[in-house]
Symmetry: C2
Subunit: 493 residues, 2 copies
């Protein structure tokens, strides 16, 4: 069996025998093409695809997972640091009610630790820094004017109340779905977050949660996302999306979040084929022929577990129903980057700061202390989101680095300007994701196209965090979608 390191960075093909799936030299096409057969072909070796494969294999089905990249994990990615260790360039946090990613990690022996959350948050607004405690009545409430706080509390309560009216498996059936899907979140906020400081808080919350501006989002989609931030026994709340302790940023994985998909892929052995971007899915009698660069898989069922706009780029024959095709034209990826600066120590801790910033300016307006559990070095992680991400997509890495470190120095002092290492990941520029962390829906999309999100098309089934009910957009949603799609396939196979 391949080591974790191998699984993260090179093809598994040839590493071991063909195992339970057929493996023959191709008789046509390019010289290197390989043909395999399986009960199910899974497209995409992110958490969704790998989870689906795990469950299908456990039920005795043969599976081949085709992955475009030279690594598994999709939007979950450890990048190596020059001095050893890794930093997380993709999804990294988990929190309460994210039961399925937690169960998966437990089963693979990947432990969690608390995101560093000791000390004060920092508000940077109108050119002034104000530290503030995180244990307020509403969780972390930045020190804004009383009118703004009162307004924000009402808006937050209203959002949570409205979200309770959303069935997470069919938000388009909510009694007021049509009304909510006619307006942007921006329009709703302007009518409700009428105090500027309150509007500021929700703008920051919006970009932090979605990596999208409030104008890009349907209000119905925002309410659905809040409703989805829970599980069957705990209704979703906005606070669970935004908070560190008690929220979606509460825990991290020891060794980096990508250890979960890497270890999961290791259990699948050579069923996972890297470097194989899928170009077409063609029905042939009762089978599907899935053609990737270098590999062709014939299977009875196909699970497509890649982001919707990426799934749109596969050639389907016969063509997909309009509802599915037009859905994928309407679920663009949001815009996100992560910038991680490495220091000898997490020096901000000595200043009583937890490394978490909320800012009204800069390329980075939201940061976290991303140091390892033993704090053997310090790491500041900043999100580059929405308009800021787009503004810096075409900038050189040196330009982004300079802009980010200027922000870090503003927030944490001059020491922050001179890290020992700097890691930048711009998901908008990634070929097989082209944005992140998640697809977003503008007004009119969920009500008209929502039912096509999970509806299978013949023998083609859909997975990926975008197809999840709870925790859509998170690692937990990806795992849930993989479990759901495996059940769906097993019901008919």
């Amino acid at each position: 069996m391949a080591t974790e390191r191998q699984l993260s960075r090179r093809s598994l093909l040839g590493a071991a025998g063909a195992g339970a799936v057929g493996l023959t030299a191709a008789t046509a096409g390019t010289a290197a093409a390989v043909t395999r057969t399986a009960d199910v072909c899974v497209v995409g070796a992110g958490l969704a695809g790998l989870t689906a494969a795990r469950d299908l294999v456990a039920a005795g089905r043969t599976v081949v997972v085709l992955e475009a990249r030279d690594r598994v994990g999709g939007r979950v990615l450890n990048l190596p640091l020059a001095g050893g260790g890794v930093t997380e360039a993709g999804g990294e946090f988990i929190g309460p009610t994210q039961d399925r990613i937690k169960a998966l990690a437990d089963s693979l022996g990947v432990a969690t630790f608390a995101t560093y959350d000791t000390g004060k948050n920092l508000l940077y607004k109108d050119g002034r820094k104000t530290p503030y405690a995180t244990d307020g009545l509403l969780g972390s409430v930045p020190p804004i004017d009383a009118a703004g706080l009162a307004n924000a509390a009402i808006v937050q309560a209203t959002l949570d109340d409205l979200a309770k009216q959303i069935p997470v498996d069919a938000p388009w059936t909510a009694a007021k779905a049509d009304e909510w899907d006619r307006q942007t979140f921006e329009t709703w906020l302007r009518a409700n977050a009428v105090i500027p400081s309150a509007k500021f808080l929700f703008d920051v919350a919006c970009t932090s949660i979605f990596s999208a501006e409030p104008r890009e989002l349907s209000f119905l989609f925002v309410l659905f996302y809040i409703a989805a931030a829970g599980n069957a026994s705990n209704p979703g709340t906005l606070e669970r999306l935004t908070e560190t302790a008690g929220g979606a940023q509460e825990l991290r994985f020891v060794g980096g979040s990508q250890r979960v998909p890497i270890k999961l892929a290791a259990t699948l052995g050579d069923r996972v084929v890297l470097n194989s971007p899928v170009r077409s899915i063609t029905k042939s009698g009762s089978q599907y022929v899935v053609t990737a660069d270098g590999t062709t898989v014939t299977a009875r069922r196909v699970v497509v577990a890649v982001p919707p706009p990426i799934a749109a780029r596969i050639t389907y024959d016969p063509v997909l129903p309009a509802a599915r095709d037009q859905l994928t034209q309407r679920l663009p990826m949001a815009s996100v980057g992560k910038a991680i600066a490495i220091y000898d120590t997490p020096f901000w801790r000595a200043d009583g700061l937890n490394g978490q910033v909320v800012s009204d300016s800069g390329v980075v307006s939201s940061t976290f202390d991303n140091s390892p559990p033993d704090a053997s070095y310090g790491a500041l992680m900043g999100f580059i989101e929405a308009d800021e991400a787009r503004a810096f997509d075409a900038a050189s890495e040196a330009e982004v680095r300079a802009a980010v470190l200027k922000d870090y120095a503003t927030y944490f002092g001059e020491k922050a300007a001179s890290p020992s290492a700097f890691v930048l990941q711009r998901w908008n520029n990634e070929p097989y994701t082209r944005g992140g962390p998640v697809s977003i829906a503008a007004p009119g999309v969920l009500t008209q196209y929502g039912p096509a999100l999970r509806r299978p098309v013949g023998g083609i089934h859909w997975a990926g965090t975008e197809t999840s009910t709870y925790w859509m957009g998170y690692m937990d949603g990806a795992v849930r979608s993989g479990e759901r799609v495996a059940k769906e396939v097993l019901d008919v196979l």
Copy 2:
């Protein structure tokens, strides 16, 4: 040279010699693959691509046009009628200020005739039919209550006034672009078209113009589209979009609109290669290799002249900049179908009706008299738009026919229930368009991504009606974009 008929329905390859472009048997790949070389490879043989090719050839450049379908014309399509003649299943109308499509048609000897517009329009609302004259102060003003009319007049004037503030070549630079791009057209209409009957008129206008509901559109995009309904000496107006006489539906082409691209393609001879869906565009030194099913073209420049969401499905190597890629994730095709019923005579004319309906219900809420100029038979054409198009995408043709003819009978009497022929074209189901008539922009798209619409990426240039300034979304915009992109390429080649 191939006949028009051949050009409309079968490959040109082999019809004549290779002419000015290289033509050699491919040495690798599938048996039928052909390799060609040219100065410019144009992707898409719609009006935009063909116009670009015409201008490039006229300037002495070698060109190959790769077309996915077995016909030219893209969203412009004549379908044959059983009894002879054709009916138009795609774009068909032209009108004042659409100078470039007019000049192109003139140059090819394709004449125009007036869309039938004699007699009264019909309003169908709240279950009642009301004929009304089309020569009112504001053009065709349906007979609604006085308060609604007054409100509608103010809203219309406001839209025209605001549109005057939009530079058609860069709507995102308008002083209030940011404000207008934060809300849906629905949100703006609710605040301004406050009388229900006025709101109804703009809802119908919206679906008629865009084949999209007001909730799907950025208000900035709507203002841009109005501004674009003109030319350099005549600012765009809403009325020019909605009207028949004096507006964008004023004229039709003798023999059907597809005669224009068919005749244009005929002048290009075997430079146009049908049945060749382009799968990848790969930079190789100073050249680009454009790989289609069956044909590979090596060229110094590439013009991509297909709708943005279709352009997104080509594999680019190197990958496109994020701004361009995320733009194409955010310009979905609207949703449209056309249903044409053929009768022995245009019998509604004898009832004093011009065949144009505005309706608040039915699968078809907007119709035209699509009879040929000699009225040798009668044709009622109805648009199936937006929510209605989506509702009927998956229905059988018989189901759609039944629903459409029920509407036609409601509007024009029982005779309309029994046509001699019925033609249905659902663009949402078309593999190489997947919607229509045009890409639409939700809030936040133009302000963040607009500049990427026409910006070349290395040697790859962008055309298609979506890249036009004036008459974006129309045949005229397609021709303008072809002329613009040819100049752009000639400037550097």
